[in-house]
């Protein structure tokens, strides 16, 4: 499998990186050379295996209680407008604009 220049251009757009045609050609060649190496993973039977990011989270992530400093509490208490647990602030961006 090899990528088309159009696909490479789309990836650049997703990555938010500008590039000229020459750079994209070089990148296409680089990814084309890598894909057969990545495809080697297909040969490993992973039926029923848990992805590591799930395993890792359960093994090692430590939860910490978010601690509010006294000054943070003061700031929240001093807020004039509140709705339920939210602080009401001035609208900065209007979707309609």
């Amino acid at each position: 499998m090899s990528l088309t220049i159009k696909e490479v251009s789309e990836i650049y757009k997703l990555a938010a990186i500008s590039a000229d045609a020459n750079e994209m050609e070089k990148m296409k060649a680089h990814i084309d050379a890598l894909i057969p190496i990545l495809d080697e993973m297909e040969k490993v039977d992973t039926e029923g295996v848990i992805p590591f990011f799930e395993l890792s989270e359960s093994l090692e992530t430590v939860d910490f209680e978010p601690a509010l400093s006294e000054s943070s509490k003061d700031i929240i208490d001093a807020f004039t407008q509140k709705e339920d647990d939210y602080l009401v602030v001035k609208k900065v961006v209007d979707k309609g604009e």
Binding site: K13, S18, E23, M41, P51, E60
Partner: protein
């Protein structure tokens, strides 16, 4: 002297730094703090330029952060400062820690101190060079796939990557968060034990950090140890590496260790798994460098153009290659076949190494594919990815590993690697202290480089 004095450190900087291009910022001797208290007083540390030291540069060897200075200390730095360590330089590296030869710095390549026509390894090549050339008492690097250990092998110093989580990553620029770990480089493993005692342990600013397993000096003889060697690696070694591996293995046998052969059928999947996971995480982590928040900004007409032009202009070629690949493997079309698949194979590798350590105390492997190559022999980018073949498994399996000097070929050092079970860092470091005393060490390496 294995650990150089303050005076020697600045003498070495004057003599070697300009030639080797190992640093990006030096704190002049008259501005370097004096510390007379703390467990580590007197030690001078050089820091890879992806670790924050308040008030010093934090460029990651990239143009995109060329004017950025750290506004706070990384936790590892803070803990060292509290015990009397002072910091004398920010060290050159591969841009954003992506590379294996230190040829991808925006500020020029770092040269190997034993032969300036050769690379020092990477991405912590500068940290290995500063340690080897005695331009600091020890250095800090970061290790995502072998970035501390592979340059240690090529520069003849000790390079240690702790168990994932033992050192806080707070204040360390993220490359691939599930693999990144701060590491140490020095001319002797002895001081690493004292440094880790101070630096390790849970940090509320890094939720992946864990309690220190404990670091202290103890006699750890070779006799009675079970050393694993991986069958598939024996078939893949180049001649220099095979000779050194055999010599090291024989030292263990002659001193009463038992050698046990291990089967690692996924060994040739290590590179694709690492490429997919590390680039996927990098593409996400480096999204913050967009020309708006804290990086160089290119001229543009609108916000999106600001992002793309700034990143296009100021990121280097290798960083762009990795971001683009990472973006590709996370795209809807590729997620299952590449990212999910790689993550599942990582679980298999993780379990494989855990099962190894049910039968052995340590695993002995090569550390690099050969001695350092010459700049003129620079392989293509894809071939360079294979330089980390032997070091990546410790990152994938979150294990501690250390590279120690073991031999010299063609006047160039070559190291070997030992891996240990998760959280057996103290046993590993003490075992390498025994190796330093009985088998091979930095001083012997220097003698052989000069007289081989």
């Amino acid at each position: 002297m294995v650990i150089p004095s303050r005076e020697d450190i600045y003498k070495n900087i004057d003599e070697y730094n300009q030639v080797l291009n190992a640093t990006l910022q030096i704190v002049p001797e008259n501005e370097l703090e004096h510390s007379d208290k703390g467990k580590l007083k007197g030690l001078i540390c050089g820091v890879k330029d992806n670790i924050a030291v308040k008030g010093l540069k934090l460029t990651n060897a990239s143009l995109i952060l060329r004017n950025y200075k750290a506004v706070y200390d990384a936790t590892v730095i803070k803990r060292l400062k509290n015990e009397g360590v002072v910091f004398n330089c920010k060290i050159n590296m591969d841009e954003f820690a992506m590379g294996v030869a230190n040829i991808y710095s925006a500020y020029g390549p770092v040269l190997n101190p034993w032969d300036t026509e050769r690379v020092p390894g990477g991405s912590s090549g500068g940290s290995a060079v500063v340690a080897a050339a005695g331009m600091a008492s020890f250095t800090l690097g970061s290790d995502t796939g072998g970035s501390v250990r592979q340059p240690a092998s090529l520069c003849g110093v000790y390079g240690y990557k702790p168990t994932y989580g033992v050192l806080s990553r707070y204040g360390v620029t993220s490359f691939a968060s599930s693999l990144d770990q701060v590491g140490l480089l020095s001319r002797t493993p002895k001081i690493m034990i004292d440094i880790m005692d101070v630096m390790s342990g849970k940090d509320e600013k890094d939720s992946t950090s864990i309690d220190s397993p404990g670091f202290f000096h103890k006699d750890t003889p070779v006799k009675g140890k079970k050393i694993g060697i991986i069958k598939q690696y024996l078939e893949s070694m180049k001649p220099n590496v095979a000779l050194t591996f055999e010599k090291t293995k024989n030292y263990f046998i002659e001193n009463g260790a038992e050698i046990i052969e291990l089967d690692f059928p996924e060994f040739d999947k290590v590179i694709p798994v690492y490429q997919v996971i590390s680039t996927a995480e990098a593409s996400s982590n480096l999204a913050r460098f967009d020309g708006i928040r804290y990086s160089e900004r290119a001229e543009a007409e609108n916000v999106f153009e600001t992002y793309s032009k700034s990143r296009g202009k100021y990121f280097g070629e290798e960083v762009k290659r990795r971001i683009i690949l990472g973006t590709y493997v996370l795209s809807r079309k590729c997620f299952d076949s590449f990212y999910l698949k790689a993550s599942k194979i990582r679980t298999i590798i993780y379990n494989r190494f855990n099962s190894f350590f049910e039968n052995v105390d340590f695993v002995l492997t090569p550390a690099s594919s050969d001695i350092a190559f010459k700049f003129e022999e620079k392989p293509d980018p894809v071939s360079l990815y294979f330089e980390d073949l032997y070091t990546i498994p410790a990152n994938l399996a979150k294990l501690p590993a250390i590279v120690f000097p073991a031999d010299v070929h063609h006047h160039m050092p070559l190291g070997m690697q030992l891996m240990a079970p998760r959280l057996k860092d103290n046993e590993l470091l003490n075992f390498v202290c025994t190796i330093e005393k009985e088998f091979y060490n930095f001083e012997k390496m220097v003698e052989e480089v000069e007289h081989e």
